[in-house]
Symmetry: C2
Subunit: 332 residues, 2 copies
């Protein structure tokens, strides 16, 4: 991931890796800036408030992004011990400009840059050291293409020094200091590793290395844009603005008259399981992941299934149109 | 597990479930009694101290157990908000009399009874409500016979009420209150479940139900005693005193002249992986698990491999003797 820092792989989930980032670097009373583009940005607010941090939030309307200028202005106004940015917030499909934010943060050496990569890592560009990221965190089940069950976190020198400065922390299982010896020598013991999951992650990393990270990022862009063109061609509006739209998933708003439960259950019968909307968008949207090791067959069959579902719920759809748009985009 | 209480199954490990038990029921300044029969009993001390609990420890010499009388005396002297007991401490192979301790605790209504079942649950008798246990915790990889990766915890009414009385706690991922809605309706979302692991656990529970829990406990006793007789017959001394010896694993002390690393690597070549000693017993002992869904073939081949290893490291062993003792015990 482009870093000489430490990596942690433990049994858990993305949420646990978010908590791990906060617990190991911040103490009660610290000042925190949360950039929130949806449900998972807001999750950082709750995590921080539980630890009595002073939290300021820059929050966008769902589907929009907080501008880099706004973040810069806030950083000029007040000094922060850390800032969190969700690279891709799966609730909105908004992708944050993490490279540009990293550029600004070069001027704020005392502000740790924590990037939530749960819905992006291994799918959208993240070069940790180059982007001045201090902590990148993710889970195994997204663009790594492994089953859920692992929390994964990279911490750079600045984050590790911050951990040291905290002394003993109340958390135990997610304490960097307890895991560092094991991450450097897995024959040592702290808590039982999720062996099967780690073997699966290893295989996933082999697949990623074979493809090449930069090729993988490019493939995600190509696939994401093609899927989104197909969805729009079928009449769906996408929640995220075009200029801040993620490529790992699409958040498609239903046309009038489509019932969420009916649509998603028919789509499941057609062989594709999608997630529903979160927060205010529950019932109004479905979320379609297209990250990891998916190929053109997966994409064609997914758009095909969505077309059949539209047909079955009574939408006037020209069968094959979405698939045609998808393939046209991919052949460009 | 003989309870009407709540069950929690989350991605994690036994250590995380220990932390979950403490975080959800105790606050800074609470009084805690830890009964420690080894490395994992002591782990509770560290977990509690990190949270600024006042911890008293009743600690036995490794291989011995704290007596029920001693625990009773301590409870008479001082009132505690909770007591932790490690049912089987894998570092020593000592099994605690959790039923008898539960009997005493019936008189101490304000003291939560927390039992660490990491090395016992689904292998040694634990009937939660009957034994007055308030929290039982374990991992997936021991007597459940699943791969590592799940933290499992049962909490009774008293423990759940204690959680409520704490208000907001600083921990997020392991907060009972966040998980209760999901455990009652898994279609709800809090953090991504380790789906594959949960399917494996489900299959393991089907296997357990088919065997019957009480039959399973009896089989563990029969198997454990037979394995231990075979090990003793081969000349190993077992660390745990006979009257407090666990049946889920055996902690065998090396005879003079056996090198730990050599023994365990030859045994691995012979097809059996065992764990080394912990703490002061590192290098002096190996730990052999015989819990979960092992059968007579597993046991015969394991004792056979140990005999071949003894032969290869130069111990004067009569090949087949241990296997003979094992089978003789099982046929009784």
């Amino acid at each position: 991931m482009g870093t000489t820092g430490e990596v942690f792989v433990i049994a858990g989930t993305g949420t646990l890796s978010m908590e791990m980032a906060i617990s190991n670097t911040l103490r009660s009373g610290d000042d925190m800036l949360v950039v929130s583009h949806g449900f998972f940005g807001d999750r950082f607010v709750e995590l921080c408030e539980r630890r009595d941090l002073n939290v300021d939030v820059l929050r966008s309307k769902w589907g929009k992004a907080v501008s880099v200028e706004e973040i810069e202005e806030q950083l000029r106004k007040k000094s922060y011990d850390a800032i969190t940015v969700t690279h891709v917030d799966t609730s909105t499909g908004v992708s944050a400009p993490i490279k540009e934010i990293g550029e600004i943060l070069k001027k704020y050496e005392d502000t740790l840059y924590i990037v939530d990569g749960v819905c992006s890592t291994a799918g959208q560009r993240e070069y940790i050291d180059e982007m001045d990221i201090d902590i990148l965190l993710t889970g195994s089940q997204k663009a790594f293409g492994v089953a859920p069950g692992l929390a994964i976190l990279w911490a750079g020198e600045k984050a590790l020094e911050r951990r040291k400065s905290l002394g003993t922390i109340s958390e135990y299982y997610i304490d960097f200091e307890r895991w560092i010896p094991i991450m450097n020598d897995p024959s040592k013991y702290f808590a039982t590793p999720a062996v099967n999951m780690i073997w699966a992650l290893k295989e996933s990393i082999n697949i990623i290395k074979e493809e090449g990270l930069e090729n993988r990022y490019k493939r995600h862009i190509r696939n994401g844009r093609a899927m989104q063109a197909a969805l729009e061609g079928l009449g769906f509006e996408l929640l995220a603005d075009k200029d801040v739209r993620a490529v790992t998933l699409s958040n498609a708003l239903y046309m009038d008259g489509i019932d969420d439960v009916e649509f998603r259950s028919i789509l499941a019968e057609e062989g594709v399981v999608v997630a529903g909307g979160l927060g205010d968008y529950a019932g109004k949207m479905f979320r379609l992941g297209h990250m990891g090791n998916i190929d053109i067959h997966d994409m064609v069959s997914t758009i095909g299934a969505i077309e059949r579902t539209l047909y079955r719920v009574g939408v006037d759809v020209e069968l094959g149109e979405g698939v045609g748009i998808l393939m046209g985009e991919l052949l460009k």
